[in-house]
C-alpha cells in the first residue's frame, strides 16, 4: 500500500507504530486495549462451553468424577498453579518495566515468563504421560479400576463415566495448554522485539495486551485446578 505507508510517515514520524487511520496515539492505544478486552471475552465464552459441559456432567456423575479426579496428581496440579501465578507476577512486572522504559529489566521478566510457561507445559507433559501409563486416556485402551479414594474407601464407579471425566480433563487442559503454547510463542517474539528496543514508555501496547492474555489464561487455570483436581479429596 504505497499510499497508506506515505501517510503514516508524514503523520507522526517519531512513532512508527501509529497507523494512518487513527487521529492520535491515544486513540490507537484505546482501540487496541478495547479490542484485546473483547477478545478476552470471546475466550471466556470459548472455555465457557466446556465449563458448561463439566458442570452438567459433574452433577450427573458425581461419584465417578470424584473417583477419577483422585487419580490426578494434586502435587503437580498445585505446583503448576503456583508456577502460573508467579508467571503472572513476572508479566505484570514486565509491563511495569516497559512503562518505565527499562529495556533490560523488561527483557529479563519476559524471559522468565516464557521459562515459567514452559515449566508449566513440561509438568503438564509428565501428567499426560502418567495418564497414558495408567490407561486413563479415553478410547479403546481406557481402563479404570482405581475405585478407591485416598483413604482406602471404595467409591462405586462406572468406568464409562470415569472415561467421560478424562475426556473432559483432556479437552479442558489440552485447550488450556494450547493457549499456553501460543502465549509462550507470543512472549518469545515480544522478547526479541523488546531486546531490539521496539517499545518505549510512549508505546508498549503489545506488551500490555499480551500481558492481559497471559493473565486470562492464568485465570482459566485458577478455575480448572479446583474443578478438576480437588473433588472430594476428604472423607
Amino acid at each position: 500500500m504505497p499510499d497508506s505507508q506515505a501517510i503514516v510517515m508524514e503523520h507522526e514520524a517519531h512513532n512508527p507504530a501509529l497507523l494512518h487511520h487513527f487521529a492520535d496515539a491515544q486513540q490507537q492505544k484505546n482501540a487496541a486495549s478495547l479490542g484485546m478486552w473483547l477478545f478476552l471475552v470471546t475466550e471466556i465464552m470459548f472455555f465457557g462451553g466446556m465449563f458448561c459441559a463439566y458442570l452438567v456432567y459433574r452433577l450427573a456423575h458425581f461419584n465417578a468424577f470424584a473417583a477419577a479426579s483422585q487419580q490426578l496428581s494434586i502435587g503437580m496440579g498445585a505446583f503448576n498453579t503456583a508456577v502460573l501465578i508467579v508467571s503472572s507476577i513476572t508479566v505484570v512486572l514486565a509491563v511495569k518495566a516497559a512503562e518505565a522504559g527499562k529495556r533490560k529489566v523488561l527483557v529479563g521478566y519476559l524471559i522468565i515468563t516464557v521459562l515459567l510457561g514452559m515449566t508449566f507445559l513440561v509438568v503438564k507433559g509428565f501428567e499426560y504421560r502418567e495418564k497414558f501409563e495408567k490407561h486413563h486416556v479415553p478410547g479403546s485402551t481406557f481402563k479404570f479400576t482405581d475405585t478407591f479414594d485416598d483413604n482406602g474407601k471404595q467409591i462405586p464407579v462406572n468406568p464409562k463415566e470415569a472415561e467421560l471425566f478424562f475426556s473432559l480433563y483432556f479437552a479442558m487442559t489440552g485447550m488450556h495448554a494450547l493457549h499456553m503454547i501460543i502465549g509462550c510463542g507470543l512472549f518469545g517474539v515480544l522478547t526479541v522485539f523488546a531486546w531490539k528496543g521496539h517499545y518505549s514508555p510512549g508505546y508498549f501496547t503489545p506488551i500490555e495486551n499480551a500481558g492481559l492474555y497471559w493473565h486470562l489464561v492464568d485465570i482459566i487455570w485458577i478455575y480448572l485446578f479446583p474443578l478438576l483436581y480437588l473433588i472430594s479429596r476428604h472423607s
Partner: protein, 553 residues
Amino acid sequence: MASTVIPANQTLAPTPKLNYLNNGHTLKSWLLTTDHKRIALLYLISVTVFFFLGGFFAMLIRLELLTPQGDLMQADTYNKVFTMHGMIMVFFFLIPVVPAVLGNFLVPLMIGAKDLAFPRINLLSWYLYITAGTLFLHCMLTGGVDTGWTFYTPYSTVGSNTNVIEAGLAVFIAGFSSIFTGLNFIVTIHRMRAPGLTWDRLPLFIWANYATSLIMILGTPVIAITVVLVAVERLFHLGIFDPRLGGDPLLFQHLFWFYSHPAVYIMILPSMGVISELIACFARKRIFGYKFVALSSLAIAVFGFLVWAHHMFVAGISLYAAMIFSFLSFSVGVPSAVKVFNWTATLYKSSISYATPMLYAFGFIGLFTIGGLTGLMLATIGIDVHVTDTYFVVAHFHYVMVGGVLMGYLGGLHFWWPKISGRMYPESWAKLSALLVFVGFNLTFFPQFILGYVGMPRRYWQYPPEFQVLNVLSTAGSSVLAVGYLLPMIYLLWSLKYGPIAEANPWGAAGLEWQTTSPPPTFNFDETPVVTWEAYNYDEIPAPKQLEAPGAR
C-alpha cells in the same frame, strides 16, 4: 472503469477522480488491501458466489421434491444436498452477508472514520472466511457432509460416515472470521466516531451492527468449541456427548443453540438496520421513535441469548425448562414488534417514493411480520410439539431469512450501489426483479406452512403422495424466485459499465456516507467531518428533483 487510469506512483495526487476503486489496479492491490471498502467488495464477490451455490442446492432440493418418490437422486445425496444448502446459506452467506459486505463498507463511512479500527484484522477475517469457504468446498467435492446444518450428535459423532470433521473445521474458521468482524465493529464504533457524532446521533444501521457484533463476540466462541468437541469426539474418541459414556446428546443441542439461536439475530439485525435507513430516506423522515428503534436492537441481542432451548421442546428437555424457554422466547417478540410498528408509523405524514430499495423495504416489513408471527407460534409449546421438524419450521425460517434478511440485503445493495460502484442501476429492471422475488417467494414458501401443519416432516427425500400438490406449487415458486435473483446479478454487473454516473448523493439521503464522493476516496473523507446535527435530518436536505433515481428508465 470509465475514469482515467492513474499511474500508481501518483496516487497521492489530490485529483477529484481518485477513489478507492481506481486507487491501484493490480491484483495485489486488492488482495492485500486494508481498505475496508475494498474488503467489502471482496466479501461481496465471495458471498455472492456462495449464495448462488446455496441456491443451486436449493433448486436441487425443490426438483427432487417435485415428485413424492425419491427419483432424482439417492437418499444419501439428498441428505448431503440439504446439508450443504443449509450450511452454505447460514455460515457462508447469511451470517456474513450484511455485516461483512454492507457493514464493512458503511460503518466507517457512516461514523466519519477513515477506516475500521483494525484494518489488517479486517483483511484477516476475509482470508479466514475464504479459507473456511475453500475448506468447505473441498469437503463438498470429496464427499460432503450429511448431518444437517445442525450437526446433531450422536449422528454427527458416530452415525455419519461423511466428512463431518472438515465441515466442522470450516464452520470453526468461519466463526473466527465473524468474531473478528464483530470485534472490529465494536471497537470502531466506540473509538473512531467523528467529533460530535454522539451515540444518540448514530444512524440506526450502526446501532444494529453494534448489537450484532455483541452477539458475534459472545455467541460464536461457544459454537467454535462445540464443533471442536464434536471433531475431537470423532477423531480421538474423547466422548463428551457420547451416551454410552453417560454423556448427554442434548448437551450438544444446548451448546449449539446457545449460539445458533442468537445467530439468527446476527442475520436479521443488520438487515433491520438497513430497513431503517431505507425507510427514513424514501419517506424523507426521521424514523419514528428513533431511541426505541435503536435500543430495541440491543434488547433483541440480549434477549436473544435467553431463548435457545425453544429448538428443543420435544428433544427431551425437562417439562419446566421447556416452559421457561417458551416464556422467554416471547420476550424477543416485543422489541421486534416495536421495530415493525415504528417503521409503519414513520410512513405517517411522510413523502414516499417507490424507488426499488423502498419496495424491498415494504417487502421486508410484510414478510418479516409473517415470519416473526409464525415464530411466535413455534414458541407456543403446545403448537411446536406438532409442527417442529416439519415444513412449518422450514417455512418460518425462510420467511425470516429469505423474506427478511435477503430482502433487506437486496434493498441495501440497491440503495448503496451508487456509492459502492459510482453508477446507477436500471430502475425498471430492478423493480421487476423486486416484484418477481416477492411473488416467487410467497409461492415457494407459503404452501410450506400448510404442508407443515398437515404433517410433512422436514429433511424428507420422499414423502406420501398426498403432499405432492403443495410441493409442486413450492417448486414452481422457486423457479420464479431463481429468476428474481438472477436478474439483479445481471443488471448490476451491466451497470458497472453502462450505468449512468452517480452523484455523491443521488437519493438526497442523510448520513455521512453521502457527503463524500461516489465512490469515496480511499480514506473516505478529505477532511474529518464534524457532526452538529441529529441523525436523519431530512428536513434540512432537499429531496432529489426526480421522484426516483436519476437515470431511471
